[in-house]
Amino acid sequence: MSLEETRLERQTDEGAQELRPSELVLTGGQWPDGERDGDTMIINMGPQHPSTHGVLRIMMELDSETVVRAKPVIGYLHTGMEKTGEELSYVQGCTNVTRMDYASPLSNELVYATAVEQLLDLDVPERAQWIRMLLCELNRMSSHLLFQATNGMDLGAVSMMIYGWRDREETLRVLEKITGLRMNHNFIRVGGVAADLPDGWREDLLELCELVERGVQDYETLLSSNPIWLERTVGVGHITTEECLAQSITGPILRSTGFPWDLRKAQPYLAYDQVDFDVIYTENGDVFDRYRIRLYEILESIRIVRQCVEKMPGGDYRVQDLKVTPPPRARIDESMEALIHHFKLFTEGFRVPAGETYAAVESPRGEIGCYMVSNGTAKPARMHIRGPSFYNLQAMGPMIDGCMVADAVAIVSSIDPIMGEVDR
Protein backbone atom coordinates (compact mmCIF):
# COMPACT_ATOMS: atom_id res chain seq x y z
CA MET A 1 0.00 0.00 0.00
CA SER A 2 2.58 2.49 1.06
CA LEU A 3 4.77 1.71 -1.93
CA GLU A 4 1.86 2.19 -4.30
CA GLU A 5 1.00 5.55 -2.82
CA THR A 6 4.54 6.78 -3.03
CA ARG A 7 4.68 5.91 -6.69
CA LEU A 8 1.39 7.63 -7.38
CA GLU A 9 2.58 10.80 -5.81
CA ARG A 10 5.70 10.73 -7.81
CA GLN A 11 3.73 10.23 -10.97
CA THR A 12 1.49 13.17 -10.13
CA ASP A 13 4.46 15.40 -9.56
CA GLU A 14 5.94 14.53 -12.88
CA GLY A 15 2.60 14.90 -14.60
CA ALA A 16 2.12 18.31 -13.14
CA GLN A 17 5.46 19.41 -14.40
CA GLU A 18 4.60 18.24 -17.86
CA LEU A 19 1.35 20.15 -17.87
CA ARG A 20 3.10 23.53 -17.86
CA PRO A 21 1.20 25.26 -15.00
CA SER A 22 1.15 28.63 -16.68
CA GLU A 23 -1.67 27.43 -18.95
CA LEU A 24 -3.82 26.57 -16.00
CA VAL A 25 -3.48 29.81 -14.08
CA LEU A 26 -6.58 31.95 -14.43
CA THR A 27 -5.86 35.56 -14.94
CA GLY A 28 -8.35 38.27 -13.95
CA GLY A 29 -10.83 39.94 -16.25
CA GLN A 30 -14.32 39.44 -17.52
CA TRP A 31 -16.10 36.13 -17.58
CA PRO A 32 -16.35 34.88 -21.16
CA ASP A 33 -20.10 35.43 -21.49
CA GLY A 34 -19.79 39.15 -20.96
CA GLU A 35 -23.31 39.55 -19.53
CA ARG A 36 -22.06 41.62 -16.63
CA ASP A 37 -24.69 44.31 -16.50
CA GLY A 38 -27.58 42.13 -15.51
CA ASP A 39 -25.49 39.65 -13.62
CA THR A 40 -26.35 40.71 -10.12
CA MET A 41 -27.93 38.71 -7.37
CA ILE A 42 -30.38 39.87 -4.72
CA ILE A 43 -29.94 38.29 -1.34
CA ASN A 44 -31.53 38.95 2.00
CA MET A 45 -29.45 39.56 5.06
CA GLY A 46 -31.75 38.94 7.94
CA PRO A 47 -34.29 39.17 9.44
CA GLN A 48 -32.68 36.37 11.42
CA HIS A 49 -29.09 37.37 11.02
CA PRO A 50 -27.01 37.74 14.18
CA SER A 51 -25.39 40.98 13.07
CA THR A 52 -28.64 42.81 12.35
CA HIS A 53 -29.33 43.53 16.02
CA GLY A 54 -32.78 42.09 16.07
CA VAL A 55 -35.03 41.62 13.12
CA LEU A 56 -33.72 43.95 10.47
CA ARG A 57 -33.78 42.60 6.96
CA ILE A 58 -31.50 44.11 4.36
CA MET A 59 -32.11 43.38 0.72
CA MET A 60 -28.79 43.59 -1.00
CA GLU A 61 -28.14 43.51 -4.68
CA LEU A 62 -24.73 41.92 -5.11
CA ASP A 63 -22.29 42.02 -7.94
CA SER A 64 -20.09 39.14 -6.82
CA GLU A 65 -18.81 40.48 -3.48
CA THR A 66 -19.75 44.13 -3.99
CA VAL A 67 -23.04 45.54 -2.82
CA VAL A 68 -24.63 47.51 -5.64
CA ARG A 69 -27.72 48.58 -3.72
CA ALA A 70 -29.07 47.95 -0.28
CA LYS A 71 -32.52 48.53 1.09
CA PRO A 72 -33.59 48.02 4.69
CA VAL A 73 -36.89 46.18 5.13
CA ILE A 74 -38.44 46.72 8.53
CA GLY A 75 -41.64 45.95 10.34
CA TYR A 76 -40.81 42.54 11.76
CA LEU A 77 -41.03 43.87 15.30
CA HIS A 78 -44.04 46.13 14.77
CA THR A 79 -46.20 45.77 17.84
CA GLY A 80 -48.43 48.80 17.45
CA MET A 81 -47.06 50.68 20.43
CA GLU A 82 -48.42 53.99 19.20
CA LYS A 83 -51.88 52.44 19.01
CA THR A 84 -51.38 50.97 22.46
CA GLY A 85 -50.35 54.40 23.66
CA GLU A 86 -53.78 55.72 22.68
CA GLU A 87 -55.43 53.03 24.79
CA LEU A 88 -53.38 53.68 27.90
CA SER A 89 -53.82 56.61 30.24
CA TYR A 90 -51.05 59.16 30.71
CA VAL A 91 -50.12 57.43 33.98
CA GLN A 92 -49.70 54.08 32.27
CA GLY A 93 -48.05 55.46 29.14
CA CYS A 94 -44.50 55.47 30.49
CA THR A 95 -44.64 51.69 30.84
CA ASN A 96 -45.41 51.46 27.17
CA VAL A 97 -42.86 53.87 25.72
CA THR A 98 -40.00 52.54 27.82
CA ARG A 99 -40.14 49.34 25.80
CA MET A 100 -39.53 51.05 22.49
CA ASP A 101 -35.81 51.74 22.55
CA TYR A 102 -34.96 49.01 25.00
CA ALA A 103 -31.28 49.92 25.08
CA SER A 104 -32.00 53.45 26.29
CA PRO A 105 -35.42 53.23 27.94
CA LEU A 106 -34.93 56.34 30.06
CA SER A 107 -34.73 58.63 27.03
CA ASN A 108 -38.10 57.34 25.93
CA GLU A 109 -39.62 57.89 29.32
CA LEU A 110 -38.09 61.34 29.52
CA VAL A 111 -39.42 62.48 26.18
CA TYR A 112 -42.87 61.10 26.93
CA ALA A 113 -43.00 62.71 30.36
CA THR A 114 -41.70 66.00 28.95
CA ALA A 115 -44.43 66.08 26.33
CA VAL A 116 -47.17 65.46 28.89
CA GLU A 117 -45.69 68.06 31.21
CA GLN A 118 -45.70 70.60 28.40
CA LEU A 119 -49.36 69.89 27.78
CA LEU A 120 -50.10 70.25 31.48
CA ASP A 121 -47.85 73.32 31.86
CA LEU A 122 -46.24 71.55 34.77
CA ASP A 123 -42.95 72.64 36.27
CA VAL A 124 -40.81 69.80 37.49
CA PRO A 125 -38.79 70.31 40.69
CA GLU A 126 -35.10 70.88 40.29
CA ARG A 127 -34.02 67.71 42.03
CA ALA A 128 -36.26 65.64 39.76
CA GLN A 129 -34.59 67.22 36.75
CA TRP A 130 -31.14 66.43 38.04
CA ILE A 131 -32.12 62.85 38.84
CA ARG A 132 -33.50 62.53 35.34
CA MET A 133 -30.32 63.90 33.88
CA LEU A 134 -28.19 61.57 35.98
CA LEU A 135 -30.23 58.56 34.91
CA CYS A 136 -30.17 59.54 31.26
CA GLU A 137 -26.41 59.83 31.32
CA LEU A 138 -26.08 56.46 33.05
CA ASN A 139 -28.32 55.13 30.36
CA ARG A 140 -26.17 56.70 27.68
CA MET A 141 -23.17 54.94 29.18
CA SER A 142 -24.90 51.57 29.22
CA SER A 143 -26.22 52.06 25.70
CA HIS A 144 -22.82 53.01 24.30
CA LEU A 145 -21.18 50.15 26.18
CA LEU A 146 -23.70 47.85 24.56
CA PHE A 147 -22.73 49.35 21.23
CA GLN A 148 -19.05 48.73 21.93
CA ALA A 149 -19.83 45.13 22.77
CA THR A 150 -22.00 44.36 19.76
CA ASN A 151 -19.86 46.37 17.38
CA GLY A 152 -16.81 44.42 18.53
CA MET A 153 -18.67 41.17 18.15
CA ASP A 154 -19.85 42.01 14.65
CA LEU A 155 -16.32 42.78 13.54
CA GLY A 156 -14.82 39.71 15.16
CA ALA A 157 -13.34 41.30 18.28
CA VAL A 158 -15.05 38.82 20.58
CA SER A 159 -13.10 39.79 23.67
CA MET A 160 -14.49 43.31 23.23
CA MET A 161 -17.94 41.82 23.42
CA ILE A 162 -17.17 40.28 26.80
CA TYR A 163 -15.67 43.51 28.15
CA GLY A 164 -18.49 45.65 26.86
CA TRP A 165 -21.22 43.46 28.28
CA ARG A 166 -19.37 43.25 31.58
CA ASP A 167 -19.17 47.01 32.04
CA ARG A 168 -22.70 47.49 30.79
CA GLU A 169 -23.87 45.00 33.34
CA GLU A 170 -22.15 47.00 36.08
CA THR A 171 -23.95 50.13 34.85
CA LEU A 172 -27.25 48.31 34.79
CA ARG A 173 -26.59 47.07 38.31
CA VAL A 174 -26.40 50.67 39.51
CA LEU A 175 -29.50 51.56 37.50
CA GLU A 176 -31.24 48.60 39.09
CA LYS A 177 -30.30 49.84 42.52
CA ILE A 178 -31.77 53.25 41.75
CA THR A 179 -34.84 52.33 39.73
CA GLY A 180 -35.54 48.76 40.77
CA LEU A 181 -35.19 47.28 37.28
CA ARG A 182 -32.32 46.59 34.95
CA MET A 183 -34.19 47.70 31.86
CA ASN A 184 -37.61 49.16 31.04
CA HIS A 185 -37.44 51.12 34.26
CA ASN A 186 -40.68 53.11 34.14
CA PHE A 187 -38.91 55.42 36.56
CA ILE A 188 -39.33 58.82 34.96
CA ARG A 189 -42.99 59.60 35.51
CA VAL A 190 -45.06 62.60 34.61
CA GLY A 191 -44.25 65.21 37.24
CA GLY A 192 -40.91 63.85 38.35
CA VAL A 193 -39.41 60.47 39.05
CA ALA A 194 -40.88 57.44 40.80
CA ALA A 195 -38.66 57.48 43.88
CA ASP A 196 -35.80 59.31 45.49
CA LEU A 197 -32.22 58.16 45.10
CA PRO A 198 -31.34 55.24 47.39
CA ASP A 199 -28.85 55.37 50.25
CA GLY A 200 -25.25 55.22 49.20
CA TRP A 201 -25.91 56.25 45.61
CA ARG A 202 -22.96 58.62 45.57
CA GLU A 203 -20.43 55.90 46.41
CA ASP A 204 -21.98 53.50 43.91
CA LEU A 205 -21.84 56.05 41.12
CA LEU A 206 -18.28 57.15 41.80
CA GLU A 207 -17.17 53.54 41.91
CA LEU A 208 -18.96 52.86 38.64
CA CYS A 209 -17.45 55.94 37.00
CA GLU A 210 -13.96 54.78 37.89
CA LEU A 211 -14.65 51.29 36.63
CA VAL A 212 -16.08 52.40 33.30
CA GLU A 213 -13.35 54.99 32.83
CA ARG A 214 -10.75 52.27 33.25
CA GLY A 215 -12.74 50.12 30.85
CA VAL A 216 -12.83 52.84 28.19
CA GLN A 217 -9.07 53.19 28.41
CA ASP A 218 -8.79 49.45 27.92
CA TYR A 219 -11.00 49.51 24.85
CA GLU A 220 -8.99 52.35 23.45
CA THR A 221 -5.82 50.30 23.90
CA LEU A 222 -7.46 47.19 22.56
CA LEU A 223 -9.09 48.60 19.45
CA SER A 224 -8.19 52.13 18.46
CA SER A 225 -4.69 51.31 17.27
CA ASN A 226 -5.32 47.69 16.39
CA PRO A 227 -4.36 47.24 12.72
CA ILE A 228 -7.06 44.64 12.08
CA TRP A 229 -9.69 46.93 13.60
CA LEU A 230 -8.48 49.89 11.58
CA GLU A 231 -8.52 47.80 8.43
CA ARG A 232 -12.16 46.90 9.01
CA THR A 233 -13.40 50.35 9.99
CA VAL A 234 -11.39 53.25 8.61
CA GLY A 235 -12.93 54.69 5.47
CA VAL A 236 -15.79 52.20 5.52
CA GLY A 237 -19.38 53.39 5.28
CA HIS A 238 -18.55 56.98 4.55
CA ILE A 239 -21.29 59.61 4.79
CA THR A 240 -21.19 63.37 4.49
CA THR A 241 -22.87 66.08 6.53
CA GLU A 242 -25.11 67.03 3.61
CA GLU A 243 -26.32 63.47 3.23
CA CYS A 244 -26.98 63.24 6.95
CA LEU A 245 -28.99 66.46 7.03
CA ALA A 246 -30.98 65.50 3.95
CA GLN A 247 -31.77 62.06 5.34
CA SER A 248 -32.84 63.38 8.78
CA ILE A 249 -29.99 61.58 10.50
CA THR A 250 -29.12 62.68 14.00
CA GLY A 251 -26.91 61.63 16.85
CA PRO A 252 -23.42 60.13 16.64
CA ILE A 253 -23.72 59.51 12.89
CA LEU A 254 -24.29 63.21 12.24
CA ARG A 255 -21.53 64.19 14.65
CA SER A 256 -19.10 61.81 12.97
CA THR A 257 -19.29 63.95 9.81
CA GLY A 258 -17.87 67.04 11.46
CA PHE A 259 -21.17 68.59 12.48
CA PRO A 260 -21.23 69.18 16.24
CA TRP A 261 -24.98 69.06 16.81
CA ASP A 262 -26.18 67.84 20.14
CA LEU A 263 -29.55 68.82 21.56
CA ARG A 264 -28.07 68.82 25.06
CA LYS A 265 -25.96 71.80 24.01
CA ALA A 266 -28.03 73.35 21.23
CA GLN A 267 -31.41 73.33 22.92
CA PRO A 268 -30.64 72.50 26.55
CA TYR A 269 -33.31 70.70 28.50
CA LEU A 270 -33.28 69.45 32.10
CA ALA A 271 -30.16 70.96 33.67
CA TYR A 272 -27.72 70.39 30.84
CA ASP A 273 -26.91 74.09 30.77
CA GLN A 274 -25.62 73.84 34.33
CA VAL A 275 -23.13 71.05 33.77
CA ASP A 276 -19.86 71.13 31.95
CA PHE A 277 -19.36 68.73 29.07
CA ASP A 278 -18.17 68.71 25.49
CA VAL A 279 -19.83 67.64 22.30
CA ILE A 280 -17.65 65.01 20.67
CA TYR A 281 -17.39 65.17 16.92
CA THR A 282 -15.01 63.98 14.23
CA GLU A 283 -14.50 64.77 10.58
CA ASN A 284 -14.37 61.55 8.60
CA GLY A 285 -17.87 60.09 8.85
CA ASP A 286 -16.79 56.46 8.70
CA VAL A 287 -17.34 53.43 10.89
CA PHE A 288 -14.21 54.11 12.90
CA ASP A 289 -15.32 57.64 13.74
CA ARG A 290 -18.70 56.48 14.85
CA TYR A 291 -17.04 53.93 17.10
CA ARG A 292 -14.73 56.56 18.57
CA ILE A 293 -17.46 59.13 19.12
CA ARG A 294 -19.48 56.66 21.11
CA LEU A 295 -16.40 55.67 23.07
CA TYR A 296 -15.63 59.24 24.02
CA GLU A 297 -19.24 60.07 24.75
CA ILE A 298 -19.04 57.52 27.52
CA LEU A 299 -16.31 59.67 29.08
CA GLU A 300 -18.42 62.80 28.69
CA SER A 301 -21.33 61.04 30.36
CA ILE A 302 -19.02 60.10 33.21
CA ARG A 303 -18.14 63.78 33.53
CA ILE A 304 -21.79 64.69 33.79
CA VAL A 305 -22.50 61.91 36.27
CA ARG A 306 -19.65 63.14 38.49
CA GLN A 307 -21.05 66.66 38.40
CA CYS A 308 -24.48 65.31 39.26
CA VAL A 309 -23.00 63.56 42.27
CA GLU A 310 -21.38 66.82 43.30
CA LYS A 311 -24.18 69.28 42.61
CA MET A 312 -27.35 67.24 43.19
CA PRO A 313 -29.81 69.73 44.69
CA GLY A 314 -32.19 68.91 47.51
CA GLY A 315 -35.94 69.17 47.47
CA ASP A 316 -38.77 67.17 46.05
CA TYR A 317 -38.17 64.44 43.54
CA ARG A 318 -41.66 64.87 42.10
CA VAL A 319 -44.12 67.69 41.80
CA GLN A 320 -46.51 68.11 44.71
CA ASP A 321 -49.59 68.25 42.54
CA LEU A 322 -52.29 65.98 43.88
CA LYS A 323 -53.82 65.53 40.45
CA VAL A 324 -50.63 64.17 38.94
CA THR A 325 -48.63 62.66 41.76
CA PRO A 326 -50.01 59.77 43.80
CA PRO A 327 -50.13 60.42 47.54
CA PRO A 328 -47.60 58.74 49.82
CA ARG A 329 -48.65 55.28 50.86
CA ALA A 330 -48.93 56.20 54.53
CA ARG A 331 -51.40 59.00 53.82
CA ILE A 332 -53.87 56.62 52.20
CA ASP A 333 -54.54 54.94 55.56
CA GLU A 334 -55.43 58.16 57.33
CA SER A 335 -56.85 60.53 54.73
CA MET A 336 -60.00 60.05 52.72
CA GLU A 337 -58.86 62.62 50.16
CA ALA A 338 -55.60 60.78 49.66
CA LEU A 339 -57.49 57.55 49.10
CA ILE A 340 -59.75 59.22 46.55
CA HIS A 341 -56.82 60.79 44.75
CA HIS A 342 -55.00 57.49 44.69
CA PHE A 343 -58.05 55.69 43.40
CA LYS A 344 -58.84 58.25 40.73
CA LEU A 345 -55.25 58.42 39.57
CA PHE A 346 -54.85 54.71 39.08
CA THR A 347 -58.29 53.98 37.63
CA GLU A 348 -59.03 56.97 35.46
CA GLY A 349 -55.77 58.86 35.47
CA PHE A 350 -55.51 62.62 35.18
CA ARG A 351 -57.05 64.64 32.39
CA VAL A 352 -54.92 66.74 30.14
CA PRO A 353 -56.35 69.84 28.44
CA ALA A 354 -56.65 69.64 24.68
CA GLY A 355 -53.53 70.65 22.86
CA GLU A 356 -50.59 69.39 20.88
CA THR A 357 -46.88 69.56 21.46
CA TYR A 358 -43.56 68.17 20.33
CA ALA A 359 -40.81 67.38 22.80
CA ALA A 360 -37.31 66.34 21.79
CA VAL A 361 -34.31 65.07 23.71
CA GLU A 362 -30.96 63.64 22.72
CA SER A 363 -31.01 59.90 23.12
CA PRO A 364 -27.82 57.86 22.63
CA ARG A 365 -28.93 57.32 19.05
CA GLY A 366 -29.98 60.84 18.16
CA GLU A 367 -32.99 63.05 18.51
CA ILE A 368 -35.89 61.20 20.02
CA GLY A 369 -39.10 63.17 19.83
CA CYS A 370 -42.62 62.77 21.05
CA TYR A 371 -45.51 64.43 19.24
CA MET A 372 -48.49 64.28 21.51
CA VAL A 373 -52.05 65.39 20.90
CA SER A 374 -54.47 65.44 23.80
CA ASN A 375 -58.23 65.69 23.55
CA GLY A 376 -59.19 66.60 27.10
CA THR A 377 -59.52 63.04 28.33
CA ALA A 378 -57.14 60.92 30.38
CA LYS A 379 -55.72 59.21 27.30
CA PRO A 380 -53.71 60.79 24.52
CA ALA A 381 -55.46 61.22 21.17
CA ARG A 382 -52.18 60.59 19.42
CA MET A 383 -48.82 59.62 20.80
CA HIS A 384 -46.14 59.54 18.15
CA ILE A 385 -42.53 58.78 18.94
CA ARG A 386 -39.90 59.94 16.51
CA GLY A 387 -37.41 57.14 16.96
CA PRO A 388 -33.93 58.15 15.85
CA SER A 389 -33.04 54.64 14.68
CA PHE A 390 -35.98 54.69 12.28
CA TYR A 391 -34.50 57.71 10.51
CA ASN A 392 -30.89 56.65 10.88
CA LEU A 393 -31.66 53.45 9.00
CA GLN A 394 -32.22 55.60 5.94
CA ALA A 395 -28.49 56.26 5.98
CA MET A 396 -27.87 52.65 5.20
CA GLY A 397 -28.50 53.07 1.48
CA PRO A 398 -25.84 55.71 0.80
CA MET A 399 -23.40 54.11 3.23
CA ILE A 400 -23.52 50.57 1.91
CA ASP A 401 -23.63 51.27 -1.82
CA GLY A 402 -20.44 50.04 -3.41
CA CYS A 403 -18.89 48.39 -0.39
CA MET A 404 -18.21 44.74 0.29
CA VAL A 405 -20.63 42.37 2.00
CA ALA A 406 -18.37 42.08 5.03
CA ASP A 407 -18.38 45.87 5.34
CA ALA A 408 -22.17 45.88 5.31
CA VAL A 409 -22.05 44.15 8.67
CA ALA A 410 -19.72 46.82 10.01
CA ILE A 411 -21.95 49.59 8.66
CA VAL A 412 -25.18 48.22 10.09
CA SER A 413 -23.41 47.79 13.39
CA SER A 414 -22.14 51.37 13.34
CA ILE A 415 -25.65 52.74 12.74
CA ASP A 416 -26.56 51.01 16.00
CA PRO A 417 -30.26 50.57 15.25
CA ILE A 418 -32.58 49.32 17.96
CA MET A 419 -35.37 47.55 16.19
CA GLY A 420 -37.87 48.00 18.99
CA GLU A 421 -37.67 51.70 18.32
CA VAL A 422 -37.61 51.39 14.53
CA ASP A 423 -40.78 49.36 14.36
CA ARG A 424 -42.47 50.51 17.55
Binding site: E356, A381, F390
Partner: protein, 190 residues
Protein backbone atom coordinates in the same frame (compact mmCIF):
# COMPACT_ATOMS: atom_id res chain seq x y z
CA UNK B 1 -64.34 55.89 33.73
CA UNK B 2 -63.77 58.82 31.42
CA UNK B 3 -66.90 60.42 30.07
CA UNK B 4 -66.91 60.17 26.33
CA UNK B 5 -69.68 62.72 25.77
CA UNK B 6 -68.56 65.63 23.63
CA UNK B 7 -67.97 68.83 25.51
CA UNK B 8 -70.02 71.94 24.84
CA UNK B 9 -67.28 74.52 24.73
CA UNK B 10 -64.51 74.28 22.22
CA UNK B 11 -61.07 74.69 23.56
CA UNK B 12 -59.09 77.70 22.46
CA UNK B 13 -55.40 77.92 22.72
CA UNK B 14 -54.92 79.85 25.95
CA UNK B 15 -51.98 81.80 24.65
CA UNK B 16 -53.55 82.94 21.41
CA UNK B 17 -55.50 85.91 22.85
CA UNK B 18 -52.40 87.14 24.68
CA UNK B 19 -50.60 87.56 21.39
CA UNK B 20 -53.18 90.08 20.34
CA UNK B 21 -54.79 87.97 17.64
CA UNK B 22 -53.45 85.66 15.01
CA UNK B 23 -52.43 88.45 12.63
CA UNK B 24 -49.18 89.23 14.38
CA UNK B 25 -46.93 86.18 14.61
CA UNK B 26 -44.05 86.77 17.01
CA UNK B 27 -41.95 84.26 15.13
CA UNK B 28 -39.94 85.50 12.15
CA UNK B 29 -40.28 82.35 10.06
CA UNK B 30 -43.97 82.03 10.79
CA UNK B 31 -44.50 85.67 9.82
CA UNK B 32 -42.86 85.01 6.48
CA UNK B 33 -45.02 81.95 5.93
CA UNK B 34 -48.23 83.74 6.86
CA UNK B 35 -47.38 86.64 4.57
CA UNK B 36 -46.44 84.45 1.66
CA UNK B 37 -48.98 81.64 1.62
CA UNK B 38 -52.74 81.97 1.42
CA UNK B 39 -54.56 80.34 4.27
CA UNK B 40 -51.53 80.06 6.53
CA UNK B 41 -52.39 80.73 10.17
CA UNK B 42 -49.92 81.10 12.98
CA UNK B 43 -50.50 79.68 16.45
CA UNK B 44 -48.14 79.35 19.34
CA UNK B 45 -48.72 75.99 20.96
CA UNK B 46 -47.06 75.61 24.36
CA UNK B 47 -44.36 78.00 23.31
CA UNK B 48 -43.70 76.28 19.99
CA UNK B 49 -44.39 78.05 16.70
CA UNK B 50 -47.00 76.25 14.63
CA UNK B 51 -48.27 77.23 11.21
CA UNK B 52 -51.49 75.77 9.83
CA UNK B 53 -51.01 75.70 6.09
CA UNK B 54 -53.42 74.91 3.34
CA UNK B 55 -52.93 71.46 1.93
CA UNK B 56 -52.33 72.77 -1.59
CA UNK B 57 -49.35 74.80 -0.38
CA UNK B 58 -47.76 71.90 1.54
CA UNK B 59 -44.95 71.28 -0.91
CA UNK B 60 -44.30 74.98 -1.50
CA UNK B 61 -44.07 75.64 2.22
CA UNK B 62 -41.46 72.91 2.55
CA UNK B 63 -39.53 74.27 -0.43
CA UNK B 64 -39.64 77.78 1.02
CA UNK B 65 -38.47 76.57 4.41
CA UNK B 66 -35.60 74.64 2.90
CA UNK B 67 -34.41 77.11 0.30
CA UNK B 68 -35.08 80.49 1.86
CA UNK B 69 -35.22 79.92 5.59
CA UNK B 70 -32.33 77.49 6.12
CA UNK B 71 -34.45 74.71 7.57
CA UNK B 72 -31.95 71.97 7.05
CA UNK B 73 -33.80 68.96 8.33
CA UNK B 74 -37.27 67.53 8.20
CA UNK B 75 -37.41 66.02 11.64
CA UNK B 76 -40.68 64.22 11.39
CA UNK B 77 -43.82 63.76 9.31
CA UNK B 78 -46.83 62.18 10.92
CA UNK B 79 -50.61 62.17 10.84
CA UNK B 80 -53.26 62.65 13.51
CA UNK B 81 -56.72 61.18 13.18
CA UNK B 82 -59.35 63.36 14.85
CA UNK B 83 -62.34 61.08 14.28
CA UNK B 84 -64.64 61.22 17.27
CA UNK B 85 -62.38 63.46 19.28
CA UNK B 86 -64.38 64.79 22.23
CA UNK B 87 -62.41 68.01 22.42
CA UNK B 88 -60.07 69.56 19.93
CA UNK B 89 -58.12 72.75 19.45
CA UNK B 90 -59.84 75.04 17.03
CA UNK B 91 -57.84 77.68 15.28
CA UNK B 92 -59.52 80.67 13.71
CA UNK B 93 -59.36 80.54 9.96
CA UNK B 94 -58.71 76.81 9.75
CA UNK B 95 -61.53 74.46 8.85
CA UNK B 96 -61.02 71.31 10.87
CA UNK B 97 -60.93 68.05 8.98
CA UNK B 98 -60.56 64.46 10.07
CA UNK B 99 -56.84 64.10 9.37
CA UNK B 100 -54.03 66.45 10.20
CA UNK B 101 -50.66 65.96 8.56
CA UNK B 102 -47.94 67.31 10.84
CA UNK B 103 -44.36 68.04 9.82
CA UNK B 104 -41.64 69.24 12.17
CA UNK B 105 -38.74 71.10 10.64
CA UNK B 106 -35.46 71.97 12.29
CA UNK B 107 -32.99 74.61 11.24
CA UNK B 108 -29.48 73.89 12.45
CA UNK B 109 -27.90 77.22 11.50
CA UNK B 110 -30.70 79.22 13.14
CA UNK B 111 -31.31 76.69 15.91
CA UNK B 112 -35.05 76.87 15.73
CA UNK B 113 -37.95 74.62 14.96
CA UNK B 114 -41.26 75.09 13.26
CA UNK B 115 -44.24 72.82 12.90
CA UNK B 116 -46.46 72.91 9.85
CA UNK B 117 -49.89 71.32 9.99
CA UNK B 118 -52.29 70.74 7.12
CA UNK B 119 -55.90 69.60 7.35
CA UNK B 120 -56.73 66.65 5.11
CA UNK B 121 -60.36 65.55 4.63
CA UNK B 122 -61.51 61.98 4.98
CA UNK B 123 -63.04 61.95 1.51
CA UNK B 124 -59.75 62.69 -0.22
CA UNK B 125 -56.84 61.74 2.03
CA UNK B 126 -54.04 62.98 -0.14
CA UNK B 127 -51.20 65.46 0.22
CA UNK B 128 -48.00 66.26 -1.63
CA UNK B 129 -44.87 64.43 -0.60
CA UNK B 130 -41.86 66.42 0.55
CA UNK B 131 -39.48 63.50 0.05
CA UNK B 132 -38.04 65.13 -3.06
CA UNK B 133 -36.97 68.14 -0.98
CA UNK B 134 -36.13 66.29 2.20
CA UNK B 135 -35.17 62.69 1.38
CA UNK B 136 -35.41 61.93 5.08
CA UNK B 137 -39.18 62.25 4.83
CA UNK B 138 -39.23 59.03 2.85
CA UNK B 139 -39.68 56.62 5.75
CA UNK B 140 -42.04 58.72 7.89
CA UNK B 141 -44.32 59.35 4.93
CA UNK B 142 -44.40 55.67 4.18
CA UNK B 143 -45.25 55.06 7.82
CA UNK B 144 -48.01 57.66 7.74
CA UNK B 145 -49.42 56.09 4.58
CA UNK B 146 -49.20 52.62 6.08
CA UNK B 147 -50.83 53.42 9.38
CA UNK B 148 -53.30 56.14 8.33
CA UNK B 149 -53.94 55.64 4.64
CA UNK B 150 -53.02 59.19 3.72
CA UNK B 151 -51.49 59.18 0.25
CA UNK B 152 -48.40 61.27 -0.38
CA UNK B 153 -48.36 62.13 -4.06
CA UNK B 154 -44.95 62.21 -5.64
CA UNK B 155 -43.39 59.89 -3.11
CA UNK B 156 -40.71 57.71 -4.72
CA UNK B 157 -41.75 54.44 -3.10
CA UNK B 158 -45.06 54.66 -1.31
CA UNK B 159 -45.39 51.12 0.01
CA UNK B 160 -46.32 49.75 3.39
CA UNK B 161 -43.38 49.85 5.75
CA UNK B 162 -44.39 48.50 9.14
CA UNK B 163 -47.42 46.35 8.36
CA UNK B 164 -47.25 43.33 6.03
CA UNK B 165 -47.82 44.13 2.37
CA UNK B 166 -51.07 42.17 2.24
CA UNK B 167 -52.58 43.91 5.26
CA UNK B 168 -56.04 45.36 4.80
CA UNK B 169 -56.82 48.66 6.51
CA UNK B 170 -54.78 51.29 8.27
CA UNK B 171 -54.34 50.42 11.93
CA UNK B 172 -53.82 53.84 13.50
CA UNK B 173 -57.12 55.17 12.19
CA UNK B 174 -59.55 55.56 15.02
CA UNK B 175 -62.19 53.43 13.31
CA UNK B 176 -59.72 50.59 12.82
CA UNK B 177 -60.05 49.23 16.32
CA UNK B 178 -57.81 46.33 17.26
CA UNK B 179 -60.77 44.33 18.57
CA UNK B 180 -62.37 44.39 15.14
CA UNK B 181 -59.65 42.36 13.49
CA UNK B 182 -61.37 39.02 12.88
CA UNK B 183 -59.73 36.02 14.43
CA UNK B 184 -59.62 33.14 12.00
CA UNK B 185 -59.28 29.56 13.09
CA UNK B 186 -57.85 27.72 10.16
CA UNK B 187 -58.40 24.08 9.40
CA UNK B 188 -60.11 23.15 12.65
CA UNK B 189 -63.78 22.77 11.85
CA UNK B 190 -64.81 20.24 14.46
Amino acid sequence: MSDDAPREETHKDPEAPDDGGAEAPDDAVAAELVARFDGAVFVRSHGQPVVYADRSTWHDVAAFLRDDQEFTMCIDVTVVDHLGTPERITVDGVAPERFEVVANYLSHPRNRRIRVIAEVPQSDPEIASVADLYPGANFPEREAYDLFGVTFTGHPDLARILMPDEWVGHPLRKDDAPARVPVTFKGNRS
